[in-house]
């Protein structure tokens, strides 16, 4: 009995909180976690639409998103570990060697 729009708005809320967390937090790992939060919000959207249209393709998409997110988390965290080894810090602002 819940309108589908409610699920979608919930997803939007989660997504914007994820964006805000990305912008505000200073720890590399927390920033990474906010990316995961954003991905989850999108997953919720897909599932809601899959339910609305009665099609399975939305859920399949979520399946693949989960797989890719897992792979991405593995690699990303490995990179973070490598960064920590060289710079001894997890502060986002100090990883700025690419500035012009």
């Amino acid at each position: 009995m819940v309108p589908t729009a409610a699920y979608l708005i919930l997803a939007a809320v989660l997504f914007s909180i994820g964006v805000t967390a990305f912008l505000i937090k200073r720890n590399l790992i927390t920033v990474f976690m906010s990316i995961e939060l954003m991905l989850n919000a999108v997953n919720l959207t897909f599932v809601a639409f899959a339910h609305m249209w009665h099609q399975v393709s939305g859920q399949i998409f979520v399946f693949f998103v989960m797989v890719v997110a897992a792979a991405e988390a593995a690699v990303g965290l490995a990179i973070i570990i490598a960064i920590f080894r060289t710079r001894q810090t997890l502060n986002v602002d100090s990883v700025d060697l690419m500035k012009s």
């Binding site: 990305f22 912008l23 986002v92 700025d96 500035k99 012009s100």
Partner: protein, 673 residues
């Protein structure tokens, strides 16, 4: 049928130019000469064939060839079209015949020069353009030839491009010619506007069918054409380039600046005689310009020291005669004089070249003397040329010049008698300064042995201006070539002899009836200049005027003899007595300096300050600098996005994503699909 091969006449020299110009650099000299001579001999042969065909009984009076259309815009069509009538035949004969002789001469004259292939390439290019000019059927095609000969002239005057004076002379020639071309162009614009076509037949027929059409726009067109002619044929006020053009090699002076290119203006006036006949005002202007130029140039030529300068001013003066002839409507006489002048002036230039060659580059007559025994062939041929130009019968110059003077005297021009007097005085002066040249060059005490200003590694072999042998450092020694005064080789003297013969007999085709001849020249040109002059009445006037001109010529020769053979001091003492006048004339009446101060200097200042500084530096440069500055400023602002900070990147990302979404939402609202 010769009309099928008409197109070969200009194109063969063009092929010669292409061959010599592109790969001639690697050819041995023999091959270059062979190509050049062949590509000049073939047109000469074709022209000879044309002559035979068109002189035979029953031949058409004109030949036409129309090839592909060239420009087709609504309202006007211009074709590549050639036409041959009797006037063209004479011009063709002069151009190809004299041109061929000069090519032969050049093989000998330029034998030691650097850039041999370049010379002959340019010479062939010139032949191509001149032939196009002469053969063309429309104003536009003639203008192509007109411009092209100007280009060839520039290239050849500046042949010794390493010399500043030569390069400047070439530039001056081209620029002054341009002023004349401006007049030609304006005339063409008016013709298109008035007649709707640029073809000669079309324009002249339109004028002919309208016998009452005089003056007005026709005068305007004619005067503009005259401006073009004064540029090309070195008349007042645009003659200043011709004396400087003597910087080029002597065969160039002979071919281009004596026999052919400078006659293009006369040819153009003669070709457009239908137009000019309808504008007595323009004709009067032509006559006055011609007479004034004739006497003016002769007066300068009297005191020149450089042998080629004398001949240059003499050319200007003789062109003035031709102009004068056209100005009183005596077109046949003008063309006749054009023909004979080509013979003896080319002869004189080539002879002067032979003298210069013999003296290893000396051109100043004050350093010459006593040469008649040492270079006899040159002497005798030049003597023929000098007598011809002085106008002493039965040499060629007399008949043509006398015809002109006669026609001027009997013309309907209100100034006729005055112009005749001017022409007569000029004839006397011509005889004077030509014999002066002869005596100073060939007679008198020998000058000291001509030292070779042979500097090691110098670019200029001698002090000459036109026979500058450009040697590279590693050239073999020229001592053997330079020292003794020697006669020129056969390849140079043979054309001299041929031209000398022509200078003698060349006038005999135009012997007027009064003297027992058949006046073939006039009758030959009658189909072209229909409605010619008929001398009714007694021949008494003929004899009187002829006698007066012969007397003037002999008087001039005698005075020269007195000054320069018997008492070589009188000329110098006269110069000392009238120093101001002498200085004025010797410096060419300071015309070059006046032009430079009045026209050139303000123009240069204007361009440098206004156009160069303000427009180019300020506006154009400023616009460029402003564009650069704006880009720099903007980019230094935008550059701050690249901070390297992840969070700022994320911030911009978020903003960008929001913008995209906004566009999508709004777009959905605007275009409800």
């Amino acid at each position: 049928m010769p009309s099928d091969y008409l197109w070969l006449i200009p194109l063969v020299p063009f092929a010669g130019f292409l061959i010599n110009g592109t790969i001639g650099r690697r050819f041995p000299r023999v091959l270059v000469s062979a190509v050049a001579l062949l590509c000049t001999a073939i047109p000469a042969a074709l022209v000879a064939w044309l002559w035979i065909t068109l002189k035979s009984a029953g031949a058409p009076e004109t030949l036409h060839i129309v090839s592909q259309p060239w420009i087709q815009i609504s309202g006007i069509t211009i074709n590549f079209a050639f036409t041959v009538d009797h006037l063209t035949l004479i011009m063709l004969g002069v151009v190809t015949g004299v041109g061929f002789l000069i090519h032969i001469y050049s093989v000998g004259y330029m034998a030691h020069e650097e850039g041999y292939w370049r010379f002959f390439a340019y010479l062939n290019l010139f032949m191509f353009f001149m032939l196009v000019l002469v053969l063309s059927e429309s104003f536009l095609l003639m203008f192509v030839g007109w411009e092209g000969v100007g280009l060839a002239s520039y290239l050849l005057i500046g042949f010794y491009f390493r010399k500043n004076s030569a390069a400047n002379a070439g530039r001056k020639a081209f620029i002054v010619n341009r002023i004349g071309d401006f007049g030609f162009l304006l005339a063409m614009f008016l013709i298109v506007r008035e007649f709707g076509s640029l073809d000669f037949t079309h324009v002249f027929d339109a004028i002919t069918v309208n016998p009452g059409w005089h003056g007005g726009i026709l005068t305007a067109i004619a005067l503009l054409l005259v401006l073009g002619a004064t540029g090309k044929s070195a008349q007042i006020p645009l003659y200043v380039w011709l004396p400087d053009a003597m910087e080029g090699p002597t065969p160039v002076s002979a071919l281009i600046h004596a026999a052919t290119m400078v006659t293009a203006g006369i040819y153009m006036v003669a070709r457009c005689h239908t137009l000019f006949d309808r504008s007595p005002y323009a004709l009067g202007v032509v006559a006055i310009i011609g007479a004034a130029t004739a006497i003016f140039a002769a007066s300068i030529g009297v005191v020149q020291h450089d042998i080629k300068r004398v001949l240059a001013y003499s050319t200007i003066s003789q062109l003035g005669y031709m102009f004068l002839a056209c100005g009183v409507g005596a077109y046949e006489a003008g063309i006749f004089h054009l023909m004979t002048h080509a013979f003896f002036k080319a002869l004189l230039f080539l002879g002067a070249g032979s003298v210069i060659h013999a003296l290893s580059g000396e051109q100043d007559m004050r350093k010459m003397g006593g040469l008649w025994r040492k270079i006899p062939i040159t002497f005798w041929t030049m003597l023929m040329g000098v007598i011809a130009i002085a106008g002493i019968p039965p040499w060629a110059g007399f008949f043509s010049k006398d015809e002109i003077l006669f026609r001027v005297y009997t013309s309907t021009n209100p100034l006729g008698k005055l112009l005749w007097a001017v022409g007569l005085i000029t004839a006397g002066m011509t005889s004077f300064y030509m014999f002066r040249l002869l005596f100073k060059t060939f007679f008198g005490p020998e000058h000291e042995e001509h030292r070779n200003l042979h500097q090691e590694g110098a670019l200029v072999h001698s002090s000459s201006n036109s026979h500058a042998v450009m040697v590279a450092d590693r050239e073999e020694d020229h001592d053997s070539h330079a020292h003794s005064v020697h006669e020129s080789p056969l390849i140079m003297t043979l054309p001299l002899i041929v031209l000398a013969v022509l200078s003698f007999i060349g006038g005999w085709v135009g012997i007027p009836i009064a003297f027992g001849g058949s006046d073939e020249a006039k009758h030959f040109l009658e189909p072209v200049f229909a409605g010619g002059f008929e001398n009714a009445g007694s021949h008494g006037l003929d004899y009187t005027l002829a006698g007066i001109s012969i007397f003037a010529a002999l008087l001039g020769a005698y005075v020269a003899y007195l000054f320069y053979y018997k008492k070589s001091r009188t000329a110098a003492s006269l110069a000392v007595k009238f120093p101001a006048l002498y200085g004025l004339v010797e410096n060419k009446f300071y015309i070059d300096e006046i032009y430079s101060a009045v026209i050139v200097a303000p123009l240069l200042m204007f361009t440098r300050i206004f156009l160069g500084g303000l427009v180019d530096g300020g506006i154009v440069g400023g616009a460029g600098a402003a564009a650069g500055g704006v880009t720099k400023g903007l980019s230094s602002i935008v550059r701050r996005v690249q901070s390297g900070n992840i969070r700022s990147y994320a911030g911009w990302l978020a903003l960008g994503a929001a913008a995209v979404m906004l566009v999508m939402v709004l777009g959905r609202a605007i275009w409800p699909h």
